[in-house]
């Protein structure tokens, strides 16, 4: 079908690539794909992702049945893919809310086109991230012991453990993100309620819209709440990933015990999160014909952020190496040498290429404007960031203080399963999302379109 707003190039406005975008057009452009009959592309996507979902469920089942020995972990490298996945997914999860709230606080007009699905991405990513620590433990049935609850053992969690901090960080963050996402969704749900033709749709959207009427008072309260939550969201996100960083930094292992970890984990999270947002933006833009709403300028600015982040990452890596050398500890230095030359050296070089070298291409406007190039870079960054996380674990654990028990990790089929299958689950959830709620915030876009004078 041809888009409601046909993209006009060169774009007459900065953030809307269409001659004009009246409220009704804007609304149709975003809301109607949800009501439109399901397209073939969507079905194919679902059929592709569904097997992965089943694979993931099956893998978890087998894991619970056999025990975590099915992974490539060993007496020395006791952590592996599950933890890396956790850090990677929570990283992606951090980006959505972080981006959305930071842009909101900084009054970035273009925020409207991406915040909705960026926040959705957060929800799904954090949910998947939350699974990882649970399946990672040896006795998952007792994972709930991390929570303080009245029990006949009269026991409590051990609050000094970074894992307990994680527990609270994930829970708080997930619930926070759900509320943050939902609150800004209410007006759009009302729109859906009022546009849908089916009774079921009216009841469902109606129920979740809570009877929103768009009254001036509603808007006033909503804006107050939203901006305040954003103000809380930024420190929350930073703290969440800082705590993830503390999982390592609060230890005394060479290569982990580094004060730079928390900030550098936050940047890393934003980095791969933004990369993921761009990938999803490309998909949605293409899949829902939103070329007019997600414009080249959007990708332009996001690429710049990526570029900045990649430089910060490079700086962080360099700092690590420098501190190891400067600190003069034999073990620290030896870990760094191992990174560059040891068992996992090829992966390490690959990570440097993906996270630091390749993104430098974004210095060139041509690259920033070439969507395929952008896509490739973003995929590379996500791979690079996963490598970074797994290597933080492997390098230190494989090469710590006790040379007598240095061992390396050997990938098993099940490691691959837990690495790949969740991606399918993520895609699946996202596909459901775009079919159920407007993927872009309609009221924000209406506002924007009026500001831009396109309405």
């Amino acid at each position: 079908m041809s888009p409601v707003l046909d993209p006009a190039l060169p774009a007459p406005y900065r953030w809307i690539a269409s001659e004009r975008a009246s409220d009704v057009e804007m609304t149709q452009a975003i809301a109607d794909p949800v009501f439109a009959p399901v397209g073939r592309a969507w079905w194919i996507a679902v059929l592709v992702s569904l097997p992965f979902v089943l694979w993931f469920i099956g893998s978890i089942g087998w894991l619970f049945y056999k025990g975590i020995g099915i992974w490539g972990i060993n007496s020395t490298v006791v952590w592996g893919v599950a933890i890396a996945n956790y850090v990677w997914w929570i990283g992606i999860g951090n980006a959505g809310t972080l981006i959305s709230s930071m842009l909101l606080l900084t009054r970035q007009q273009w925020r409207g086109s991406i915040n909705r699905f960026a926040e959705a991405m957060t929800l799904f990513a954090v949910a998947i991230a939350g699974i990882m620590p649970i399946i990672h433990v040896g006795r998952p049935i007792y994972a709930y012991w991390l929570a303080p609850y009245p029990n006949t053992m009269a026991l409590w969690p051990q609050w000094r453990s970074a894992l307990v901090w994680d527990f609270w960080a994930i829970i708080s963050y997930l619930l926070f993100s759900i509320m943050f996402w939902y609150v800004s969704l209410i007006p759009d749900l009302a729109t859906m309620r009022d546009r849908t033709r089916t009774r079921a749709g009216q009841v469902l959207y109606g129920a979740f819209a809570l009877g929103w009427r768009g009254s001036a008072r509603h808007w006033n309260r909503l804006k107050t709440l939203h901006i305040t939550m954003a103000a809380l969201g930024v420190p929350l996100v930073c703290s969440v990933h800082s705590i993830v960083g503390l999982d390592f930094a609060a230890s005394l292992m060479p290569g982990w015990q580094e004060s730079i970890f928390p900030p550098y984990f936050v940047v890393g999270a934003m980095y791969c999160g933004f990369a993921m947002v761009i990938i999803l933006a490309l998909a949605i833009r293409w899949g829902l014909n939103l070329q007019a709403i997600i414009t080249a300028n959007h990708f332009e600015v996001m690429s710049r952020i990526l570029l900045m982040a990649s430089i910060v990452m490079g700086y962080s890596y360099a700092t690590e190496w420098f501190m190891a050398w400067y600190g003069g500890q034999h073990s620290d230095r030896s870990v760094v040498v191992f990174e560059f030359t040891g068992t996992y050296a090829p992966l390490f070089w690959a990570l440097l290429f993906c996270n630091v070298v390749l993104p430098q291409a974004l210095w060139f406007p041509a690259v920033r404007r070439s969507l395929p190039a952008l896509f490739v870079i973003c995929v590379a960054i996500n791979i690079g960031m996963w490598l970074e996380r797994i290597l933080i674990i492997w390098n230190t654990l494989s090469h710590d203080y006790m040379p007598s028990v240095w061992r390396s990790f050997h990938f098993t089929f099940w490691d691959w399963s837990f690495l790949i299958a969740p991606l399918g689950l993520f895609a699946f959830l996202f596909l459901l999302f775009v079919r159920l709620v407007p993927a872009v915030s309609m009221f924000d876009m209406r506002e924007l379109s009026h500001k831009e004078g396109a309405a």
Partner: protein
């Protein structure tokens, strides 16, 4: 008895113009219903500033304090164990959880306060019966006004609104 009218406009500027005239005419502008927030409208309608933030602050602080107290009580009083030679009340590290939980609690209180201050959930509302009101969430702009306490005020008000370019003006009958 006073009459309340609701007028439907094509675009926000008309609505704002109408609102101004209504107030000049001494009528009461009760509320406006728009598909997106319109700058300054709440000022025109002199909606009191929201107190949501106080609720959030209070909720956040209380829960954070509770979280810290729980840690302190469980680790130092109820079942003290020596964990790696750390002090029983390692308050420095006990600050992390309260922060996380506090932020979450603040947000939660915010949402609750928001719902209360907007009177939501309100799935059933008389306004939904107004024909065409469903466009208030899409592309049309509604103004809810009450006539002043003098005879014939209703007609006068209706004129004002239509003059201001209202497409439809409906009178709400009081329940």
């Amino acid at each position: 008895m006073t009459g309340t009218l609701i007028a439907e406009f094509q675009n926000p500027d008309m609505l704002c113009a109408a609102l101004r005239q209504v107030k000049e005419g001494g009528h009461h502008a009760l509320d406006a219903f728009t598909p997106y927030p319109i700058e300054g409208l709440d000022a025109e309608l002199d909606i009191p500033p929201s107190r949501i933030r106080y609720a959030m602050l209070a909720g956040g602080l209380i829960v954070a304090a509770f979280a810290f107290a729980l840690q302190w009580y469980s680790a130092a009083i109820d079942y003290p164990v020596n964990s790696g030679g750390r002090p029983l009340n390692s308050w420095q590290v006990f600050l992390l959880v309260p922060f996380e939980v506090g932020v979450f609690a603040a947000a939660l209180c915010g949402v609750i306060a928001f719902l209360r201050s907007c009177g939501l959930p309100r799935l059933h509302h008389p306004l939904f019966e107004i024909p065409g009101f469903e466009r208030a969430t899409q592309d049309h702009f509604f103004l809810l006004v009450a006539a002043k306490q003098t005879g014939g005020a209703i007609r006068d008000l209706r004129d004002v609104l239509e003059a201001a370019g209202a497409a439809v003006v409906t009178e709400l009958r009081q329940p």
